[in-house]
Subunit: 426 residues, 2 copies
Amino acid sequence: MSALPQGQQNEAGGSGSEAPPRDQDRALRERARKVIPGGMWGHMNAARLPAAFPQFFWRAEGCRLWDADGNEYLDFMCGFGPMVLGYRDPDVDAAAAAQARLGDIMNGPSPLLVELAELLVGTVAHADWALFSKNGTDATTTCVTIARAATRRRKILVARGSYHGAVPWCTPSLAGVTAEDRAHILHYDYNDPDSLEAAAQEAGDDLAAILATAFRHDARRDQELAAPAFARKARALCDASGAALVLDDVRAGFRLDIAGSWEPLGVRPDLSAWSKAIANGYALAAVTGSDAFRAAASEIFVTGSFWCTAVAMAAAIATIGKLRDGGGIAQMAAMGQRLRDGLAAQAAAHGVGLRQSGPAQMPLILFEGDSDFERGNLFTSETVRRGVYLHPWHNMFLSAAHRPADIDRALEATDAAFAAVAARFG
Amino acid sequence: MSALPQGQQNEAGGSGSEAPPRDQDRALRERARKVIPGGMWGHMNAARLPAAFPQFFWRAEGCRLWDADGNEYLDFMCGFGPMVLGYRDPDVDAAAAAQARLGDIMNGPSPLLVELAELLVGTVAHADWALFSKNGTDATTTCVTIARAATRRRKILVARGSYHGAVPWCTPSLAGVTAEDRAHILHYDYNDPDSLEAAAQEAGDDLAAILATAFRHDARRDQELAAPAFARKARALCDASGAALVLDDVRAGFRLDIAGSWEPLGVRPDLSAWSKAIANGYALAAVTGSDAFRAAASEIFVTGSFWCTAVAMAAAIATIGKLRDGGGIAQMAAMGQRLRDGLAAQAAAHGVGLRQSGPAQMPLILFEGDSDFERGNLFTSETVRRGVYLHPWHNMFLSAAHRPADIDRALEATDAAFAAVAARFG
């Protein structure tokens, strides 16, 4: 049996920095070591984080999380992105619950499939059609497969260091990966039009697709917004060759621009991969595409047991509608800017060199001269002890549930954390 | 807006064979053609079925489905497998709803991750550990990656015609697939120990894994239970070489033997892939493995945004517990046998040659001399018009919600359908 906290709720968000209770988390990690390889796997493995971070979570609501010991956190990771309107958003959950009372898995999709595809086609600027899956990796892999089927070519240009998923053609680890899995992947440098052109020349008449994330959101380095000249060069190379321009909007989608993250740049992709925020935490991914790639999309065979479950589609319709009508993206950007301005002022006051990068609603913070992340680890450990969950080296996520009072509350914790960094590192 | 039926419910399950209303399904297909490639994709595409089959479903309960026009069907596909206890099983849904009130996506797993891994390790005979994902394809691909990481070898032996998922290394269509995607896949014939040995010799000292489905459940041909000599040969070849024996239990898992589908054969795999029935329709997949492959499983990097969502894990714990304690597998087998016996008697009475294959709880029916599936298409079209959803060429699925009265009701429809086949084909 699991050891769920029975109603207790610790005020980890107090003014002190004493370590909050961790007995449940410790016991769970001990049990996990026996039945889960390495005790945990993937991007949610807390072994990649300082000891102050909990591994297991008990509950969530709005922009707050409670760990397995009942310690409360004001959250800036949003489940690594999916939570865009707030944990357990009442409108999304009500739509999902209403569909759950009818059916979820059936022998075919519910009518909501058509409704959701129509909603995406009406919302995403480049989209003439949509199909759905479960993982972001499903969506990026499907885009690559469609591009190859459409062009009858093989080479895919990928930015060095970009994350596009966790299967052999793209996973960051080479363990279990063969050379052939990546035989047709060529690399360029994000935001460097010349390197993109050189990679396209290397691909020659075998160029199937240029794949790019919405912005450069690689972990452990400053983020970079997509340069208009880079995006336009990618579009021009695809126009000249007939290759597909594939936008990987899995991480940034529905946080930068609801019509697609490159819409403000005036550059429309041929195919886009979506997931994370599309249904406010319900498992769903999507590919949208233009008419030129419709035939290829119907020629390939991709599917999954749960790709047409109706509850996640009900959640997606509610999520996209609420984001579109409720000004959620502007709200996230404003709250991210409020946090960014506050952090900049505090860093200056404490004499700590802080680099803030990325869109305000998906911020990354790194410390000057902190190549080993010692300052970042100390800083975020101090905020976690004070009930504010920040990440030391991965981009964070704002949601439409964050309010000015939440940002101000977070800034109380960060002020103390800056003081700790200044005290230790001078 | 979708056009959900407002409370109507057609008695498609009457005694006549007049076509039930289809206006909603027809209108939805027309809309879908505009916004979904080919109007639908994947294994749930009704274009692969006779015209009598609906594409869109409105609701489901127990062993019954209602299509978008409100026509009722007694179901023998179970959503292509996931529904193992009955659609909207009250115990599973209550467990899921209780967790949903706490949280689903969070910054890490809930304690239910540990509880579920412990449950699998305690239930699945070969399992020392477990990790979780969303698609059956995630699980099979992860098994292949673990096997390669553990052995530092590349070749994977796969049975000709076996379905292991829908990504480039294994999807049935070659559209968008490169030769390199399958460079290290070698083929053998299911249930043929000699061909397995020949393939292993071809792999030589580069053999990473032998991959096999729980039984031969290829579509459009007679099913074959796994022959003990074949399973033992696979085990012996892996023991001799250090390669991984990987059981793809995605489709059959939790319907043949709760400890693993090859447990009755006395052959234990090193790695198993699970999905479909693991959480009674909630999106979840799992890999279980032995201690020998634990280090490799922690070395690879696989992950997905929704792989740790807690609601599906609550559903899985409830599903596995209820199946284990409630005798669900025996119930499914008994109901499948009741259907099989009834069909055999009817086929004989009508003078129609019928071949029934596969485990009784996952039956396939094919007609003699029916290479173009004309008889099967007519037969299932007649049952569908009478409110009984059978498949003309894919294995079907029983659930623990099927009762003797349901089977008898289905046999009323099949008796009329056999008469139609006899009348048309003599």
